[in-house]
């Protein structure tokens, strides 16, 4: 430790507070985004784990069935045969109270004790009467005190619940008090006797599953149980279901993490830039210190230390910011998971220490790496009292070629990395290598552009114009980095913007094709619960008999569970017009449809085909209620509704193989000349008092779907904005530093007779030029990123293919953004220069 030496350095930092502040802010934002995304992901995962845990309890295995669940007589049989002595039946489902989605868990208290022991959470004996009530009183259920308070309910009070859009009477029989660590996970859990759950959920005679505790070496017990199971019921270990669900969201998590890393990368550019600049700014001081006897190691340590200090403060700030940001992101992440995957309530952010540590490590480690270059540059400063800049710039220029070459190699490597495989992580790695390559390549491009632009600017703006461009070229070691940082940030926005736009327009086009019916009807139910929501059969019959309707399509989306995966299956009853709504990517419509209507075949969606590596003519096996059945793939169709992929099957085949008569949605095809609004009104009148429905015209459904799309991608948009934010700070600080560094030079010009206005013009021309180059460079990189995101990342993450659509607006916006950022960044230095008497600036150095 050399305190005086450190003092010299720290006081320098203190004298340039704006620069330091921007640097710290850049790092802080970068770290914050990484930490926030990580915390949000982790919280969602943890909430999922906890809720799974509180629901599965100590079960080791489960017996599961098809979409309709299990026949309850199976449980009685197992019990009476004494095959599964430690077993508990379960009926679960989702319901709504106001805008809140709650999970109803129907348990058999007599079988519960060894599993969840939920009943033991009843807090005091004064609620004893709740227990017989639960069994004997229809609608009686338990909830947590907090939930009761939020619903404004007292014990003993009757209230209404909405299930599949139908109102059901419930009664708050008592409150339960889960232990602290499960309180959050169980916040949205309503407990009831299994009979109540069956009645409320309309699942009379069915069980959702049977939980079992099998001895560790219970292979004989296991085979005894398996022997007793009817076709369609399967014994699976408990972990498999939750890991299958976790797997669904993996790609989504990786995507978010990658985007957060992009923000950090831009932040690191920023710290690199700041410190390089501060080294350059102090080259005389550093030379002086060397003369006084500071060794190269001293100087290296000094600059590294500065970087780590800035990085440290930034990181610390970033962690705090990250926690705040995570609160916001968590809501968005949860919403996307609910829209795309499964129902999940995350009521609290868990401050995962590992996530925080990762963020801190990335911030500090990244800073250290970013600072290595300026620190060694500083260490190489010769012990000279007076140095000329041209030496530094000379060496920078000599580096142009090797840097450019490395850049090209990186770009090639990136493209090479993309060739094989399905690996999403590799895809992202390639993306980062590509960005790195581009940034290495940038200074060479800047140098070239300067050579071309100088005469042009000279002709346009005279000597001053030429001077502006030469200034950019003369300080290439700074301007190169600044331009690279800005162009990366802008290209990231171009890439993400083009990707989301392309995606959106593909989805829009797909919706136009798919939505063939005139009116769509589904029950009003919380998002993510369609497979558990059922349209009242009597209502369907009534609607079908309305005059003016020519055809009705029916749909039943379900989730098939196996030991290893959850498969989405859509059983549909097609109409004459429905066929046109399915865009076949593989398979000839002439042959596909006749087969679909008659044979034991299925259609699979594009992501399903991608994920399972299936093609036309391949076979898939599904566990049906009649046992395992094999289906041939008759076609592959375009579908953006699930990134997990989907299997479609005709409704009649589904009903042959599964004991499930439910329907979730119907589509009405009207006779010519019949008014949509009239029919919609009649349907509403039929349903009134029976079931709350969502009755939507094609147009309304299209809009609603796009709205869902938009809010599903809200998280992407937010991250994109954050990246731009970090980049903007970066460019602001880089350009500002650059101009402030030239204070003396500018003061000389002022002394020579340049008016403040002219000076302002000079600075503006310079920053504007840099912005323009950044913008122009960002366009090809941005398009390349978009291509990569669409054809590689999206395909690997979600299995969707889509057309690259380049909206002119996005490109123009990018250019404007770059130039505006650059101009804005030039404002302050220009203003300051104009304000400062030249003499003072001259003396300052």
């Amino acid at each position: 430790m050399k305190p005086i030496l450190w003092l010299a350095s720290l006081r320098h930092l203190k004298r340039h507070p704006l620069q330091m502040a921007l640097s710290i802010l850049g790092i802080a934002l970068g770290v914050a985004v990484v930490v926030a995304v990580d915390l949000a992901n982790e919280s969602a995962r943890r909430a999922f784990d906890l809720s799974m845990q509180s629901i599965t309890g100590s079960a080791t295995h489960q017996i599961i069935g098809g979409p309709g669940g299990l026949d309850e007589s199976l449980y009685a049989d197992l019990r009476r045969q004494g095959v599964a002595p430690v077993s508990a039946p379960l009926v679960s489902g989702y319901l709504a109270q106001g805008d809140q989605t709650l999970q109803l868990l129907g348990v058999d208290p007599f079988a519960e004790q060894q599993f969840r022991n939920l009943i033991s959470y009843l807090p005091d004996k004064s609620q004893e009467s709740a227990l017989p009530q639960l069994l004997t009183q229809p609608g009686a259920l338990l909830m947590t005190a907090a939930r009761a308070a939020s619903l404004g309910l007292q014990v003993g009070q009757a209230f209404e619940l909405t299930i599949s859009g139908q109102q059901r009477q419930a009664l708050l029989a008592g409150l339960y008090q889960p232990p602290q660590q499960q309180a959050a996970a169980m916040q949205d859990l309503l407990l009831a006797d299994i009979s109540t759950a069956q009645e409320l959920l309309g699942r009379i005679g069915r069980l959702s599953r049977i939980d079992l505790i099998l001895p560790a070496d219970g292979s004989s017990v296991q085979s005894a149980i398996e022997a007793a199971l009817p076709a369609g019921a399967r014994l699976v270990p408990v972990g498999s279901r939750s890991s299958a669900m976790q797997e669904m969201t993996r790609a989504f998590g990786i995507n978010l993490t990658a985007m957060s890393l992009l923000a950090l990368v831009v932040g690191l550019f920023l710290i690199y830039n700041t410190l390089s600049f501060s080294v350059l700014q102090r080259r005389e001081l550093l030379g002086n210190l060397r003369v006084l006897g500071a060794t190269r190691r001293d100087i290296f340590t000094l600059v590294l230390g500065e970087g780590v200090l800035i990085g440290g403060i930034g990181t610390l700030l970033g962690l705090l910011l990250g926690v705040l940001l995570a609160q916001e992101l968590l809501a968005l992440v949860t919403r996307t998971i609910n829209d795309l995957y499964f129902v999940l309530t995350v009521s609290e952010l868990s401050l995962d220490p590992i996530g925080m540590a990762k963020g801190a490590l990335l911030g500090l480690g990244g800073t250290a790496v970013a600072v290595l270059a300026p620190a060694s540059e500083a260490a190489m400063s010769p012990p000279r009292a007076v140095l000329n800049r041209s030496r530094v710039e000379g060496s920078a220029r000599r580096l142009l070629l090797p840097l450019g070459m490395t850049g090209v190699v990186c770009i090639l490597l990136a493209l090479l990395l993309l060739l094989p495989g399905h690996s999403l992580i590799l895809g992202f790695f390639a993306l980062f290598v590509l960005i790195l390559g581009f940034s290495l390549f940038t200074p060479a491009v800047v140098a070239m552009s300067c050579r071309w632009a100088a005469p042009l600017f000279g002709r346009l703006f005279g000597t001053l114009g030429r001077m502006a461009i030469r200034g950019v070229e003369a300080s290439l070691s700074r301007t190169g980095v600044a331009i690279a940082a800005l162009s990366i940030a802008v290209s990231a926005t171009v890439g993400m913007g083009v990707m989301v736009d392309s995606f959106r327009s593909s989805v829009q086009q797909w919706l136009h094709t798919t939505l063939q019916a005139d009116i769509y009807i589904v029950p009003l139910a919380p998002s993510g619960t369609s497979s558990e929501t059922v349209l009242d059969p009597a209502l369907i019959t009534a609607i079908e008999q309305l005059p003016g309707i020519s055809e009705v399509s029916q749909g039943r989306p379900v989730k098939l569970q196996s030991a290893t995966a959850i498969t989405r299956l859509l059983a549909i009853r097609m109409t004459q017009k429905s066929y046109a709504g399915i865009e076949l990517l593989e398979g000839d419509p002439e042959t596909v449809w006749p087969r679909f209507d008659r044979e034991q075949v299925v259609l699979i969606s594009e992501p399903y085909a991608y994920r399972h590596n299936l093609r036309l003519g391949d076979q898939i096996q599904l566990e049906t209620d009649r046992g395992r059945r094999t289906f041939q793939v008759a076609g592959v169709y375009r579908d953006y509704s699930s990134d997990q992929g989907m299997i479609s099957m005709r409704l009649s085949l589904y009903r042959q193989l599964w004991d499930d008569e439910s329907i979730y949605s119907i589509g009405l095809y009207l006779q010519p000349g019949v008014d949509t609004a009239t029919i919609a009104g009649e349907v509403a009148a039929l349903a009134a008092g029976k079931q709350a429905l969502r009755i939507r015209s094609t147009r309304a459904l299209l809009e609603a779907s796009l709205e869902t799309f938009d809010h599903t991608f809200a998280i992407t948009r937010v991250l994109r904005l954050l990246v731009i934010g970090v980049a903007f700070i970066g460019i602001l600080s880089a350009l500002m530093a650059l101009q402030l560094e030239r204070a003396r030079e500018l003061a000389v010009l002022r002394a020579t007779g340049l008016t403040p206005g002219q000076l302002w013009g000079l600075v503006t021309a310079q920053t504007g030029f840099m912005g323009l180059i950044s913008g122009l460079l960002a366009l090809p990189l941005g398009l390349l990123l978009a291509t990569l995101l669409i054809h590689v990342i999206n395909r690997r993450a979600f299995g969707w293919s889509m057309d690259l659509i380049v909206p002119g607006g996005v490109l123009l916006d990018a250019l404007l953004l770059a130039v505006a950022a650059a101009l804005l960044a030039g404002l302050y230095p220009a203003w300051r220069m104009a304000q400062t008497p030249p003499a003072r600036a001259l003396r300052e150095e």
């Binding site: 005086i4 030496l5 006081r11 005389e284 002086n288 210190l289 006897g293 060794t295 007076v386």
Partner: protein, 255 residues
């Protein structure tokens, strides 16, 4: 006019040496010249072509001598000074200071030698702007491993010697040119170097301040028994040295 120099017993307080500086301990052969310059050559790039500045230069300086180096602008005076100070390397030839061939040391060793044995005074003061006057003096001491309390004592002594005790807490930009250069002189001597190199120390000062600085430099060097090599283009300044060396056409001419 002039400043009282009182440094009784200062030279007795030898600085503790760091391990590194002990490795390059000078071998004090009183019989040998203190500085030997052997066949030194150095070129600078001018307009892309190497232009010889020093061409096989030879010379010697004795212990305790005060030597002035005269010459025209651009004749290579500063280059020679930088070479002797070890902050530049010759294209050819050797420099031996008190038996150590500094031109053959590596960068790290040369730095350690420099910070132990050499003090610099420049035309443009070259104080560290972010350090106070006292801290500027403490910096070389710190680099040489002095404990802070003893360093502070030593810094105060020298600041008293240059009559700037009242400015200890000032930053360089709060001082006049003459005051800054007096600080620079004090800093050049604070760590008790054997050799003080001065490059036009009065070049940026008015006559009066220049005279003060010069007088101080001479007195301090004399009291502390240091060897002084001072680059100047002023005949008057040069006359005050024990000996004058003139640099012309890349060669030294001793008078």
């Amino acid at each position: 006019m002039g400043y009282e120099v009182s440094l009784q017993g200062v030279s007795a307080k030898l600085p503790p040496m760091t391990k590194e500086s002990q490795k390059i301990q000078m071998n004090s052969h009183k019989t040998q010249p203190f500085i030997q310059l052997q066949n030194l050559s150095r070129s600078h790039l001018q307009g892309g072509y190497p232009q010889p500045v020093l061409a096989g230069l030879n010379g010697e300086i004795q212990h305790g001598e005060s030597v002035a180096l005269l010459g025209r602008s651009g004749c290579g005076k500063s280059t020679l000074l930088n070479l002797i100070g070890g902050i530049d390397q010759p294209d050819g030839g050797r420099i031996i200071i008190d038996g150590v061939a500094i031109t053959e040391l590596d960068e790290h060793a040369r730095t350690l030698f420099r910070r132990r044995h050499i003090g610099f005074v420049y035309q443009l003061f070259n104080l560290v702007p972010t350090l106070t006057v006292e801290e500027n003096l403490l910096l070389p001491l710190e680099l040489n491993g002095w404990p802070l309390n003893r360093g502070r004592e030593r810094a105060r002594e020298l600041l008293q010697a240059v009559n700037l005790l009242d400015k200890v807490a000032s930053f360089p930009d709060q001082l006049s040119g003459g005051e800054q250069q007096r600080v620079a002189v004090a800093r050049a001597l604070v760590h008790q170097p054997d050799l003080v190199l001065a490059d036009e120390p009065t070049g940026s000062l008015d006559a009066e301040s220049g005279e003060q600085v010069l007088a101080l430099l001479e007195q301090l060097v004399a009291v502390e028994q240091r060897t002084l090599l001072m680059v100047t283009h002023s005949q008057a300044v040069a006359e005050r040295a024990d000996r004058i060396l003139t640099l012309a056409d890349g060669q030294l001419d001793s008078r």
